[in-house]
Structures are given as structure tokens and as C-alpha cells.
């Protein structure tokens, strides 16, 4: 497929920390990690989803002024960014595996409407829902 969404970015407080979280704890892979001065374009990818990249960006110069960056860091830390959803085959097993690696869960796995879902946050405060769907996704 040549058309479609390729990158969606998250704001994170620290790119090294975010990289370690998404790669070591969640099992994503680094797709692109390039720097230009202070700017760092960093994207990761789910191993089953080669056409999609998750960008891990810090708000700041040269793209944003200091005040805007500070506001965004506060918004992320308050958990006010939009929800993210991760599909998994086995929510309970994934939860156990991730918890063993130190992932901060905000909601234990719950059966609902035939699905199982749990909630976790990345170190910056971005909230994820992890869903095991009965229907094939």
C-alpha cells in the first residue's frame, strides 16, 4: 500500500527514555533515528505493522518556542493527550510480560463486551489502552 497514514507522533519528555520504553518494554523496533543539531527525528514501529511509524518527539526548539513547549510538556504529564490503543492477541499475558518489565499499569485487564482491555502509561504520561478483541482486528 502506497497511500495512507505513515507516521503519527507522540510528545514525550525524553526521547532516550521513550525509546527504551517502546523498544525494551513494549517490543517496538526503531525505524528512524536521525539528528540535526538539537533536533531528533525518532520513530518506532510495531513489528507486525511495517507501514506505520509511531513518532517520539520532544516539544521544543527549533519547532516550538519555550513557552509552548512547556505547556505541551505539562499537558502530556497530566495525561491529557488523546488515547492510544494497542491491539494484542492476549491482553492478560501481555500485561504480565510488560509489568515484569516495569510498565506502569493504570487499569488491570477487564472483560467487557467480549473483549479484554487494560490500561498503561508511558513514562511521559501518554495513556494507552491495550485491547484483545474477540473479532479479528
Amino acid at each position: 500500500m502506497n497511500q495512507g497514514v505513515q507516521v503519527v507522533g507522540l510528545y514525550v519528555r525524553d526521547q532516550d527514555e521513550a525509546l527504551a520504553f517502546y523498544v525494551d518494554k513494549l517490543g517496538f523496533r526503531v525505524h528512524t533515528d536521525v539528528r540535526n543539531g538539537d533536533y531528533r527525528w525518532l520513530t518506532v514501529q510495531h513489528p507486525d505493522q511495517p507501514s506505520f511509524q509511531l513518532g517520539l518527539f520532544t516539544p521544543g526548539p527549533p519547532v516550538l518556542d519555550a513557552q509552548t513547549a512547556q505547556t505541551l510538556r505539562a499537558i502530556v504529564a497530566k495525561g491529557a493527550m488523546p488515547p492510544l490503543v494497542l491491539n494484542v492477541d492476549d491482553c492478560r499475558a501481555a500485561c504480565e510480560r510488560m509489568r515484569a518489565r516495569g510498565v506502569e499499569f493504570t487499569q488491570e485487564p477487564v472483560d467487557r463486551y467480549g473483549n479484554v482491555d487494560a490500561g498503561f502509561r508511558d513514562p511521559s504520561g501518554n495513556g494507552w489502552k491495550m485491547i484483545e478483541s474477540r473479532r479479528a482486528a
Partner: protein, 166 residues
């Protein structure tokens, strides 16, 4: 000094992240007791600092936030289960049916039974949306004090009205 009711982007993001952890803990177990001392410990700040910072960050004092979550859970149980209302009151953290019903009416403007009847008519559509998002969308807007709402005594006050008045 910044007034606590104003959003303040100068709050330290590291502090906000720890306050979020306390909010998450209330979300995960809103039926439990959450005295400020316990919440302050989760956030690793002093009790006085916690209450002030939480309100500054999230717009409502921690106890009022907890009440909204309890009512939200009660509404979910009314929607999704056939549990007796007494049992729902107990499960969501109230000590008595009386205080549950009073708080429920104060916040939603309706009786638990009325919410159940209306919500059950909508239930089939909600199955397609993740539960957390359904909960957030139905979260009652508790931006006024419960006592203040009681004083106002207007009929048919509900969550969305409250939000607009804030």
C-alpha cells in the same frame, strides 16, 4: 501567586506526572478511601502541597474528583449490570444507600433508576467504543460544589449543563 483555579503551565511536568499517578490510582480503585495523606504519598509530595497542586493541575480538588469517578462507575454498573442499587452503592465506595442516592442526584440531577432505564436503551451502540472512552464521555462534570448544586435546586441539572456553566 497564581490562583489555584487557573490552569498554570508553569507547574513542573515532573510534579504533574506524579500527580497524574495519584489520579490514576483513584481511577483504578475509586471505591477505596483516598485520604490526602495516601494520595500525597503516591505523588511523593507533602499533604498541603498535594491538595493545592492537584486542584491547580486538574481543576477540581482530589476528593471531588474521587466523587465523580464513583458516580461514573455507578453509572457504568447501572448501564452494564442488573445489580441492585444497594449493591452498586456498596461496590462504588459508599457507606450507605442514603448518601449514595443523595450524591448521585446532586451530581447527575437524576435518580439511579432513571439513569439505568435510559442507559439500557443506548447500550448496543456503546459496545463499539473502548470502555475507558465510554466512561470518560459519560463522566459527570462536577465543577460545582455538591452543596452549591443542592442550593441551586434547579430541576433537570445534568453533567453537560454543569460543564457549560463552569
Amino acid at each position: 501567586m497564581t490562583r489555584p483555579s487557573e490552569p498554570d503551565s508553569s507547574q513542573d511536568p515532573e510534579l504533574l506526572r506524579r500527580l497524574l499517578r495519584a489520579k490514576d490510582r483513584m481511577d483504578a480503585a475509586s471505591h477505596e478511601d483516598w485520604p490526602v495523606r495516601r494520595l500525597a504519598r503516591v505523588s511523593a509530595v507533602s499533604e498541603a502541597h498535594f491538595a493545592r497542586s492537584f486542584k491547580q493541575a486538574f481543576g477540581v480538588p482530589p476528593h471531588r474528583y474521587l466523587l465523580t469517578r464513583r458516580i461514573e462507575r455507578a453509572m457504568a454498573l447501572l448501564r452494564d449490570t442488573g445489580l441492585p442499587i444497594t449493591e452498586i452503592a456498596f461496590q462504588t465506595g459508599w457507606q450507605s444507600l442514603g448518601s449514595f442516592g443523595r450524591t448521585f442526584r446532586d451530581i447527575t440531577g437524576e435518580n439511579p433508576g432513571a439513569i439505568r432505564a435510559r442507559a439500557s436503551a443506548l447500550a448496543p451502540e456503546l459496545g463499539r467504543v473502548p470502555a475507558c472512552i465510554v466512561s470518560a464521555a459519560h463522566r459527570p462534570g462536577l465543577t460545582t460544589a455538591v452543596s452549591e448544586k443542592r442550593r441551586r435546586e434547579a430541576g433537570g441539572i445534568n453533567g453537560s449543563d454543569t460543564k457549560e456553566q463552569a
